[in-house]
Amino acid sequence: MKEWFTRWLNGDLELLEHVSDASEIPDSPREELKTKRKEFRQRIYDRPDMDSIIRAEQKGFLAIYHTIAIISCVVLIGVLLFTVAHLPRYGEENPYTMEVVERYVEHGVEETGAVNIVAGMILDYRAFDTLGESHVLFTALVCVMILLKLDKKTIRGGYLDSYYTVKQDTYFDVSKDTIIRLAGTVLVPCIVLFGIYVLLNGQNGPGGGFSGGAIMGAALIMFATAFGFDRMDRVFTEKVLSLTVFFSLSFYCFAKGYVFFTGANGLDNHIPKGIPGAILSGGLILPLDIAVGMVVACTMYGFYSLFKRGSIGGA
């Protein structure tokens, strides 16, 4: 122990041998960077289609631009402050303001079967909005896949060389680090459990699909960081992600479509509300929360994976 301490004190001990040392790669000197930046700028300015922009800049375009930007910001701030200052006092000048809120607070529990009024509101009273909202997330996933997924076109375009160099990958890869591995082993199960708890208790307390899914997604990201993508890819391929998202969202779509249809036509939808406070309560809220949670978790991991290496579940 004493020997170790002495070695540590003298700086001989190599505790972080697995982490590549950033100081090994020397930074370029400041002057060199400056000239490089200048050269790069010159290369942009040398393009023939930049002529009009350069001319505009010489005419003092930037000064006008900044002045207008500042003026419009100030005006917008003034307008908004004025508006907020003149808002009618809540619930006083207008008798209808509290109509909707009162109903949600007073009858929410008995009508939706959920103790958490917010969950009852977003998944029962105003379920159509939430149906859209859960598809917003899916749309974002599709957009990110379009933008970042590596395909023949991107590889042919030579983007691969500049962005995904081997050096960068090893530089940021921490999956062989003992500390992170140990922390991952301890934390990932706990985070998953906590996520499931939040997910399943959306109808009884704070939580629900979006927050629970986000926590579970964080656990997936943590696992991939600590143990590397190779292990993750054995289970979580792109096929798994797309099937999960497909089944969750189409269940959501059809379940809610069924409720909307029966509700509008005055039919009974035969979905038991349950006893408020029990885990199986709130009608469709629990299954919908689970579906949303799956989508959110998959989307979060998908984003991480796409941003990190341009594919989900390996090439």
Binding site: V79, L80, F82, T83, H86, L87, P88, Y90, G91, E93, N94, Y96, T97, E99, V100, V101, Y104, E111, D124, Y125, R126, A127, F128, D129, L131, G132, E133, H135, V136, F138, T139, A140, V142, C143, M145, I146, L147, D151, K152, K153, T154, S242, L243, V245, F246, L249, S250, C253, F254, K256, G257, V259, F260, F261, T262, G263, A264, N265, G266, N269
Partner: protein
């Protein structure tokens, strides 16, 4: 309730499901599926239109078991059905006519993602048309924003990425302002559904302390949506966005997405604010002036551009100006003209954007004017369709553009001298400018060129959908009273 009244709900749920399904399918199958499902949607929307015309009244449809001020609602009347039918027809034609270019422009592994985005976009368009709740409107505006960026970047050119970034920034600014407006309205009224909100605003608007705040809220909301639809000072994102996207995307973005925002804005004015309250606000006159500025500025930029797609895109800015001019004029005739012009522009502009790539294809893939010389002779079908829609844009009789200009003129007749002269001058000047740049293009594509003696082959797979669009164009031009009458019936049951 009758089964037809559930069709609006089915169009939304079905489109959302199709979006998720196409995510799973292969590219080719996704394309076929999309085409078939859009035909089904056209059938459903037509049924709703016939049903509402026959009944002579609109119906609301509760989304779930909770009725009006507590739950969500959608609503279908004649006006909404006409819009939905037009949107679906244009969507179908764009997909059917442009799929070959989609296969060329987009990497094979991402074609299914493209169709997934298109179907989600259809869902958003349908929801924006049917919704009776301004917050649902906001949610689907979000989906529309994301999907429109998605179908732009999918071409993976440097220019589309740049255009998409610019489009995204402006759109998010617009969404933010729109949300701010919705929040202010909600704080004032305590409602999100349109009918209760209108009732509350009607009683609030007589309070002189509240009126300025109300004007601010509506103003912020208007700025938000006009940035997104490309009204005059905010129209500079258009040329790059439309000019470099794959033809299907360009047609859909220019003819449907910006129109959906305008329709939502109009719906909020008419149904959430109440048209009587709205007409007491100064916003109307500002819209009129900005609309006219947009007409002139858009046409001027179109004349100066040397690239055919950019010219057509700038002409879009001018046409958006027309629509806002109609909204600014006000009165039933003004709104009818504006809504009629939405239909006209959607049909004509999508046809223009779907024919220009065919002209470019026989001119060495170049969209520059000097390369396009004689392309109308090398590809005769594309030349004819381009000429038809160009004539319609200028406002030659028997084509749709003429009818809408006539309606704008009629709407202006009902106003005082100042507005009458302003609008008539704007119509005259802009028709002249339109003629200037479209006739120039038509002459250019029919001028003889040495390349014309070489036989070129081109596939006629886009002709059926072009014929459909031309048919709609002629129908709107020759029988404009049918559609204008439908719009007026729709407006009478809208309020």
């Amino acid at each position: 309730m009758e089964p037809v009244s559930s069709f609006p709900l089915f169009t939304i749920v079905f489109s959302l499901f199709s979006g998720v399904l196409c995510f799973l399918l292969r590219g080719r199958i996704a394309k076929h599926y999309t085409i078939v499902y859009e035909l089904v949607l056209i059938g459903m929307v037509t049924a709703v239109l016939l049903y509402t015309v026959k009944n002579g009244m609109a119906f609301t449809y509760t989304m779930g078991e909770f009725s009006a001020p507590w739950g969500n609602e959608i609503r279908a009347g004649v006006l909404e059905s006409v819009m939905a039918l037009l949107f679906m027809v244009v969507m179908f034609c764009s997909v059917a006519a442009g799929h070959r270019f989609v296969n060329m422009d987009i990497d094979e592994s991402k074609i299914n993602l493209y169709y997934a985005e298109l179907n989600l976009m259809t869902a958003a368009l349908m929801s924006i048309i049917w919704t009776n709740d301004i917050f649902s409107g906001y949610v689907f505006v979000e989906i529309l924003t994301l999907t429109s960026c998605g179908i732009l970047i999918v071409r993976e050119l440097g220019r589309t990425t740049l255009a998409a970034v610019r489009y995204m920034i402006l759109n998010l600014l617009g969404s933010g302002l729109f949300l701010l407006g919705v929040v202010l309205l909600y704080t004032m009224t305590g409602h999100l559904l349109m009918e209760p909100m209108q009732r509350t605003i009607a009683s609030l608007s007589w309070n002189p302390d509240v009126m300025p705040t109300l004007i601010m809220a509506v103003g912020i909301l208007t700025i938000g949506l006009s940035i997104k639809s490309g009204l005059f000072p905010f129209h500079y994102w258009m040329p790059d966005t439309y000019g470099w996207a794959t033809p299907t995307s360009a047609a859909i973005l220019s003819s449907l997405v910006s129109k959906a925002y305008i329709f939502l804005l109009f719906k909020i004015y008419y149904r959430a604010i109440g048209i009587n309250v709205f007409e007491r606000m100064p916003i109307r006159n500002i819209l009129l002036v900005l609309g006219i500025c947009g007409i002139i500025a858009g046409s001027w930029s179109a004349i100066r551009s040397n690239n055919i797609n950019r010219m057509v895109a700038f002409s879009s800015a001018a046409q958006i100006g027309y629509i806002y001019m109609g909204l600014g004029l006000g009165g039933i005739s003004g709104y009818t003209a504006a809504l009629f012009h939405i239909l006209v522009h959607a049909i004509t502009k999508s046809q223009l954007f779907l024919t220009t790539p065919h002209l470019a294809e026989v001119s060495g893939e170049s969209l520059l004017f000097k390369e396009l010389q004689g392309s109308g002779r090398r590809n005769r079908d594309a030349g004819v369709f381009f000429t038809i829609s160009a004539l319609s844009m200028i406002g030659i009789p028997i084509f749709a553009g003429f009818s809408s200009k006539l309606l704008f003129g009629q709407a202006a007749m009902g106003h005082g001298n100042k507005k009458l002269i302003l609008v008539m001058l704007a119509l005259a000047v802009s028709s002249m400018l339109n003629a200037l740049y479209f006739i120039r293009t038509v002459i250019r594509i029919y001028t003889d060129d040495p390349r014309n003696h070489v036989k070129t082959r081109h596939r006629p797979d886009y002709i059926p959908s072009m014929l459909v669009l031309t048919g709609c164009n002629l129908f709107l031009g020759l029988f404009s009273w049918v559609t204008a009458g439908l719009i007026q019936t729709g407006l009478s049951m809208f309020g």
